[in-house]
Symmetry: C2
Subunit: 211 residues, 2 copies
C-alpha cells in the first residue's frame, strides 16, 4: 500500500487555505490550527496567489473556496494539481451540479458546501489526507438527478455571450451570425429550460454549470 503523503514525514497534515473573505479565512485558520494534527502552512485571498503558495509550500491539502477573484477555486485547483503533488478540497456557498462534475474531472478530492458543520470539515480533511475522497451527499445527489444538458453547442455559445452583452445585435456580431439566428438559438434554449427571457435562460444554464 502506498504511504499517504503526510504520514511519510511528520504525521501532521500541512494545509493551505484560500478564501477571499478575510474573516472566514482567519476563522478557519484558527479553528483548524486548533486540531492537533493540522498545520495551516499557507493562506491566500485569491486563486492566483493560492497557486503560487502551493508551489512554494507544497501542502498536503489545499482547501479552496470556489468563489474567488482573479482565478476561481476550479481554475486554481487545475493549476495546482498540474504543478504540485497535493490534494484539493473545494468549498463553496452555492453548489451547482455542473461545477461538481467539472471539479471531479479536474481530479479534485473533496467537495463540500459552506453549510458543512465546522467540526466535520476536519474529518473531511483527514479523510482526504488519508487518500479517500469526500463528496457532500446533497450535492452528489443533485448532480446525479440533474438531467444532462439538453442544449446544443450554438445555443450554449449564444447563452454564454448573452451573459455579458446587452443586445441581440451585439451577440450576433460576436458570433458572426445573423441576428435572427441568434434569436432563434436563444428562443429554443428558453423553451428547453423553460425560461421566460434570455437572461433567465442564461441564468438557469449557469446555475446548472453548463456555461
Amino acid at each position: 500500500m502506498i504511504e499517504t503523503q503526510e504520514s511519510a514525514t511528520t504525521g501532521r497534515i500541512r494545509l493551505l487555505i484560500a478564501d477571499d473573505e478575510h474573516l472566514i479565512r482567519g476563522a478557519l485558520e484558527a479553528l483548524l490550527g486548533l486540531e492537533g494534527d493540522i498545520d495551516v502552512v499557507a493562506s491566500a485571498d485569491n486563486g492566483v496567489t493560492a497557486a503560487e503558495l502551493a508551489l512554494t509550500t507544497s501542502p498536503d491539502i489545499c482547501l479552496l473556496d470556489l468563489e474567488m477573484p482573479q482565478a476561481d477555486g476550479l481554475e486554481a485547483a487545475t493549476k495546482i494539481l498540474a504543478t504540485v503533488n497535493t490534494r484539493v478540497i473545494i468549498v463553496t456557498r452555492h453548489a451547482r451540479p455542473g461545477v461538481l462534475r467539472r471539479a471531479l474531472a479536474s481530479k479534485v478530492s473533496g467537495f463540500v458546501p459552506k453549510s458543512t458543520p465546522a467540526q466535520e470539515l476536519a474529518h473531511v480533511i483527514r479523510d482526504v489526507a488519508a487518500g479517500k475522497r469526500y463528496i457532500d451527499p446533497e450535492i452528489a445527489a443533485a448532480a446525479l438527478t440533474a438531467e444532462r444538458c439538453p442544449l446544443t453547442d450554438r445555443e450554449l455559445d449564444a447563452l454564454r455571450v448573452s451573459r455579458s452583452t446587452t443586445s441581440v445585435a451585439q451577440i450576433a456580431k460576436q458570433l458572426h451570425l445573423a441576428s435572427g439566428t441568434v434569436r432563434n438559438y436563444l428562443s429554443s434554449a428558453m423553451i428547453k429550460l423553460n425560461a421566460v427571457s434570455r437572461h433567465d435562460a442564461a441564468e438557469k444554464a449557469w446555475q446548472q454549470g453548463w456555461i
Copy 2:
C-alpha cells in the same frame, strides 16, 4: 458615566452569533471563544431563531450576518433591539450603501464587511461592548459619496414589483395602473440610473438599497 452592560456583571462579553453558513458560524464561535473575555452564549442559522435566542439568553452583543434565510440581519436586528437590551453588529458580504443607512436608522451599533481581518472583529466587539460604535470606513465612505435616491415613489413601486414579476402587464395589474404608465415609470427609472433594461434598473436600485 453610564456603566457598560457587561462590566456590571462579570466583565466578560456574552455574544450571540447568527450566520446561515455552519462552517463560518462554527469557525467564528471557536475563534471568538478563544478570546479570554468573550463567551459565545448562543448561535443561530437564521434571523428568526436569532431573535428568539436573543430573548432567552440576553447577550451583550449580537453578531448578525446580513444575508440569512427567514429574516435577514436587518429584520432580526430590528426585532431584537425592540425586545432585548443589547447591541447589534451587522456582518455582511456585499455592503450596499443603502443598507448601511437603514441599519443605522434601526440603531445598529456596528457594521463590518466579511473582508474584515478576523482579529479585528474581536476589537470591534470590545469597542461596541464598551458603548462605542464601529462602522467600516470603506462602507461609510461609499454611503456618504453615494447621492440620494433620485427616484420617485411610483418609480420605486414599479421597480420593486418588477423584481419578482416577468411582464409589464402583470406589474401593471398589481399596481392597478395602465401598462403604458408602468412602462413610463420603468423607463424614467432606467434613465435616472442609466440602466439598459428594467431588470438592470431594479438591480441597480437594489444595490443601492433603495428598494
